[in-house]
Amino acid sequence: MYFDSLSAAMTMGGHGGYVWSAYAITFLVLGVVILRPILSSRRLRRDIRSELARKATVSGVSNAS
């Protein structure tokens, strides 16, 4: 590590607040753009699958009767 201690790495000679918050905001924004479409896809896939399952049971019941 370039810094002597972990507290020196946190404060960075007075610039720590700026640097760490810049990285925190970046990870936050990237987290949102990564997770939003993944969660949306998961929901869409579940909806399409349950629709298919519903149709399958309906046709299955009509075949049995």
Binding site: M12, T26, F27, L30
Partner: protein, 244 residues
Amino acid sequence: MWRIVHQFGSPPWVYRFCERVIPWLLPITFTALVIGSLWGLLYAPTDYKQGDSYRIIYIHVPAAVVALAGYYVMAAAGLVSLVWKIKLADTAMRAAAPIGAAYTAIALITGAIWGKPTWGAWWVWDARITSMLILLFLYLGVIALFEAYENKAIAARACAVLSLVGTVNIPIIYKSVDWWYSLHQPASIKFTGPSAIDASMLYPLLGMIITFYALFAVLMMINLRDLLLDDHRSSAWLKKQLEA
């Protein structure tokens, strides 16, 4: 050659490709992002002039570089969509817009945070910063414009026109630090001649630029997959794909 072109225009092929690649590429790029950040934060040396505030460069420059590259992707997709009326090109254009907006926002926010200790101001109406703000509005404009139309074919055409008109902003962003007197420093990395940056700082910076490009590519696939699921929810190929 034509087979490859045909495959890239085929939604089922692209969907299956995304499904196969994302589970590998996303963890790899995210790990690279964490390692690159720690390298820039903790292991790269301090700048003798700016002190440790310069460490913001490792996210600020990659975000800005790829925000511009992403605009080419969006505008090129818009052009293909206008000329050849390929629906998948509309989808690619829509997939690129939110990523570009996020990268541009990151470049602007980290720039503001870097500006405070370095210039003494969070924001200045500088040519480089103002043209980047216009880039953000172009990305957001494409997203909003697509949502505004009920007819999605017309919406896609309007977005393609907007993204093509917006390309005039790109050379302005590149040249802004040369054309106008600017607080913003010129590029430290040069393709011709030696870079004005030491190797101990250059390597983590190049690593982060490559990582931000890779993340853009993964995010394109994640967004494409999501948009294809939404657009093709009643298509036979997708039902078959999800049943398997």
